[in-house]
Symmetry: D2
Subunit: 127 residues, 4 copies
């Protein structure tokens, strides 16, 4: 799949920044997770309902920080499903400020039984 599946806006507030004057690096995975959740919601899958017996867990994250991001910046977080497996998904994120890419990342998420954390097939269509 080559097109972007979904885009979600993130505005940078004080809580996102650090004393270096930029967004703290560990906050970027939060913006990506929000975007995946909102993408699922758009597809009709509310987390609370999934929760009853199914949960997505993040198995790996690989992020390149390309440009610093500042207080008040408005970001666009893109999400694309790069590979759909039976129990896991490879996801590609790209984050833009205006038309400049500031960050990209590859994330692997896998289906699990919420109570036992055992692997589980993803029980619905994604992307």
């Amino acid at each position: 799949m080559s097109r972007t599946d979904f885009v979600f806006p993130v505005r940078i507030h004080y809580e996102d920044t650090d004393a270096g004057g930029v967004v703290y690096h560990a906050n970027y995975p939060r913006y990506m997770a929000r975007t995946r959740t909102e993408c699922l919601r758009e597809l009709g899958h509310e987390l609370v309902k999934l929760e009853q017996d199914f949960i997505f867990a993040v198995r790996s994250v690989s992020i390149d920080f390309l440009k610093p991001v500042f207080l008040n910046d408005l970001l666009q977080v893109h999400v694309t499903v790069a590979r759909k497996g039976k129990t896991s998904l490879d996801i590609r994120h790209e984050i833009y400020r205006e038309n400049i890419i500031v960050c990209h990342a590859d994330v692997n998420v896998a289906g699990h039984v919420a109570s036992s954390f055992r692997p589980q097939a993803i029980p619905f269509e994604v992307g």
Copy 2:
């Protein structure tokens, strides 16, 4: 009770600060919560064991921020039980950097059944 029951050290890292160059105000309640947990641990009460049917929930927090706190500062977070009720505790926190107080707060925590959030008597001695 007038003495401090327990003191816990908190070192300020980048994750704690914001673009104003100081500790982000919403992070102080985290340091207080860590200190209450470590105080309980000192008294022999591990959260995980409590969790099975009992949980403390914060019902109110009132904080005065007296001095700015900076990257790399080492804080001492004090906790004192000011009033012990059957189902709730009034707690007083004072935070010091060296011998200067930088923040104080009053926190009310109440016992709850973990699964239903219904009020519950505190099943052990505190302070």
Copy 3:
């Protein structure tokens, strides 16, 4: 002033919750801070421009947590300026889920010189 000046929506994601299954208490002041920033933006005051020589610092926060808030809940954060002083503002926040109030808070913010943290008159009209 008795009406609400501004309302900002906050969706609860995983990052907002804790192992008790509810929103972690120290995250509420973040939603209030976002709402104050967005209210200022609505009034034409962008933080980045303010930053050059003026900063708001939070001097006190007093919060009552009335109802637990859960993953996926959609909150409405209200902000009202209760008192306007020359160098500080008393602000009232109320947070609703649908038509039920889940939290209210009083916050005092004061104008400061960004570089020195010295008090400074607020250089524009608010509310």
Copy 4:
């Protein structure tokens, strides 16, 4: 370099967990950053002094989450300098709970001029 350069303990509190009952994935880079800072402090380099004209910025992070981590767990975060360049370092982190590895990561950090974010040689010996 094959040995671990430094180990730092991290106790898991409520603030670290999410409604899935485990540590929120975006919190792991925070534990790694704390550990790098404490390792530098051990080597005699205090961040505040570095700050005057030098800053480390994270350029990339690649994390594998191997096992879920729970409330109250005590982790040991290891840091090893895998490659020392003139302006950047490749760092390897491994996180253990008791003797089981729960997470590993590769992080690239680079020296920058604090005010301009321009690349800068690292002005001291590391590792």
